[in-house]
């Protein structure tokens, strides 16, 4: 079980609430994309789930309260792919991915051959096995993104949180990364919660979209339910054309004002 539920979650930075009274339920194996304008609280929601920020309310993963899990147990349950992962210069892809095994080791534990086997399989699965010995600072943007995914997958957590996975990638690589995540989700029944700016892509890959504005949930549902021209005009202050693509999802196209 890897369902995620948030109940009356509020997060405040220095007394200023950035997420307010949020209720969300994400089923096991579902992909939920959090969308919303800048400052809507998307990243903060992900940070609350991983307990990187203190929160009021309840967050449960697989029926267990996040607040009561040890750091290691939480890391075994939730993997997070941050927006701009720090890639230490000189560190190799395999060493970086192997750090993803940390939640499964004791404080001073050492990686076993099983850990190395899992990482090798992850790298192979992501097409990184040829690059295992390459330093992170010698990877292309797309390869770095895959390395970051490899580290997150090495955690073997059933819930994957992704913060803006396609930032700074060209459209082809955006598609590749999202397809890869979607494929892995289906194969491994991962629950994916992704904060996304790109509305068309968010709608293409997610089962449901949750629109946050000012820290509040204003809409949740399928892409066709949430991505409407009036909603986008109101909350993003953007003029767009929403196009239904005959069974291929919903496209949001900005229109010059």
């Amino acid at each position: 079980m890897s369902d995620v539920s948030l109940s009356a979650v509020t997060v405040a930075y220095e007394g200023r609430p950035v997420v307010r009274d949020l209720d969300l339920a994400v089923a096991s194996g579902e992909w939920l994309s959090l969308i919303g304008p800048n400052g809507a609280g998307k990243t903060t929601v992900l940070r609350a789930i991983t307990r990187l920020v203190p929160f009021d309310g309840d967050i449960h993963i697989g029926g267990r309260a996040v607040a009561r899990l040890s750091s290691r147990d939480l890391a075994r349950g939730v993997a997070m792919l941050v927006q701009e992962p720090q890639m230490p210069a000189g560190m190799t892809v395999s060493q970086y991915a192997l750090l993803g095994r940390s939640p499964h080791l004791g404080y001073l534990g050492k990686e076993s051959s099983r850990d190395r086997r899992i990482v090798r399989d992850v790298l192979r699965r992501l097409g990184l096995d040829e690059l295992a010995s390459r330093a992170l600072d010698r990877l292309s943007g797309g390869e770095r993104q895959r390395a970051a995914i490899a580290r997150a997958l090495a955690q073997q957590a059933p819930v994957l949180l992704i913060d803006e996975p396609t930032t700074s990638l060209d459209v082809g690589r955006q598609q590749s990364v999202l397809e890869l995540i979607d494929q892995l989700r289906r194969e491994q029944e991962l629950t994916v919660i992704a904060a996304m700016h790109e509305l068309t892509l968010a709608g293409q890959y997610a089962d449901r979209l949750a629109l946050l504005v000012g820290g509040r949930l204003v809409a949740i549902g399928s892409a066709s339910e949430v991505l409407t021209e009036p909603a986008i005009a109101e909350h993003y202050r953007a003029q767009v054309k929403v196009i239904e693509m005959n069974g291929s999802g919903t496209a949001v196209v900005p229109v010059r004002r």
Binding site: R76, V82, S133, L190
Partner: protein, 363 residues
């Protein structure tokens, strides 16, 4: 349980081939061990009284039951070796290895290539403690131990504890910057008091100055035994944190989301590194450069993983300091140069050569 099997993880009995994992290169480890052995040999053989290699070997073997039977060594030479040269070389090993590994540890936890073991005020605290002891209580002993190293140890520990407490109240240890700034403030405060005491006690300026530049005191085995427990504990704790020091090179959110407590790792490693630094500063003064030059040279030449940097820092730091100390006591014999002069004079050009020859390598 929350864990899930993502991939086929059938347990095969074949070895797992996964390239790119950091391993201690045996050639470098052997080279470090040889360098240490050679520098110890030079350190023991060099001195105003000529003592040959054979005599040194005999003096080492003589006390060993069975092996030493029938070996006779000139008592005067044996005395020079066992009372002066052996303990001084061993002290050099302890001081050099500790300063280098503590420097590497500080650079890891503070993610700052310029961090050295004195970053949080250990040098300023030790200098103040030693200055007070030299100026106000010269020649005093506590439980048979000279008060200068004790005062330096207490001063170094107090300065770092003060910096840590200050950093904690200001930034809650959320960032290393707050801790470093607290260290700068504490060091400046301690330095001002030290300067004041030094200026008002002009008769001891030379001794204070000599202490500050670093010098391995020759109080025989007492100093070795005094620092040994702290050094062993410090190096052992840093050694077992090698994997976590590598993890600390990730972003703070990423480390935390891996279930690793950054604050806990930082606290334990800083306490361990400080304990070792305070102990060796107490007997060697504030010897500069070793904690920066040695780990960085290893990073540039061998690799950046702490699984490599930590053990090699111990070996090469120890070898470097024993050589520097040998030079310090022989170049202008019978006088001695402060060891800090030698470490900077030899270390800085070497480091420049390493940096130039590895241009483009990440620091």
């Amino acid at each position: 349980m929350l864990g899930v099997k993502l991939f086929s993880t059938r347990v095969a009995r074949t070895p797992v081939l996964l390239g790119g994992l950091p391993r201690l290169p045996w050639a470098w480890a052997a080279g470090g061990a040889l360098a240490l052995l050679a520098s110890c040999g030079v350190g023991v053989l060099a001195g105003p009284v000529h003592i040959g290699f054979g005599t040194v070997t005999q003096a080492l073997l003589a006390p060993i039951p069975g092996l030493g039977a029938g070996i006779s060594v000139d008592p005067g030479q044996a005395n020079i070796l066992w009372s002066l040269r052996f303990p001084r070389v061993v002290l050099g090993v302890l001081v050099g290895g500790t300063l280098a590994v503590a420097g590497a540890a500080y650079q890891g936890v503070f993610r700052n290539p310029l961090a050295d073991p004195y970053l949080l005020g250990a040098a300023a605290g030790a200098n103040l403690g030693a200055t007070l002891a030299i100026a106000l209580a010269p020649g005093t002993s506590v439980f048979g131990v000279n008060v200068i190293p004790l005062a330096a140890f207490v001063g170094a520990g107090a300065a770092v504890a003060g910096a840590y407490a200050l950093g904690r109240t200001v930034t809650g240890l959320r960032s290393t910057t707050g801790l470093i700034l607290a260290g700068v403030a504490i060091a400046a405060f301690f330095n001002s008091i030290q300067s004041y005491v030094q200026q008002t006690q002009t008769s001891s300026i030379r001794q204070v100055y000599s202490w500050i530049l670093g010098r391995l005191v020759t109080a025989g085995w007492d100093d070795v035994l005094l620092v040994l427990p702290y050094v062993v504990l410090s190096v052992a704790v840093i050694f077992v944190h090698r994997r976590l020091l590598d993890a600390l090179t990730l972003g703070e959110d990423e480390i935390t989301s891996l279930g690793i407590s950054v604050r806990r790792v930082r606290l334990i490693v800083v306490v361990a590194a400080t304990l070792g630094t305070a102990a060796v500063v107490a007997v060697g003064g504030t010897i500069a450069f070793v904690g920066i030059i040695v780990p960085h040279a290893i990073r540039l030449l061998v690799g950046r993983s702490y699984r490599v940097v930590v053990p090699l820092s111990v070996l090469f730091g120890a070898a470097f300091l024993v050589l520097a100390d040998t030079a310090a006591r022989t170049v202008v014999a019978p006088a001695e140069l402060p060891i800090g002069v030698i470490t900077a004079f030899l270390g800085a050009p070497f480091f420049i050569v390493v940096m130039r020859s590895t241009r483009g390598a990440p620091l």
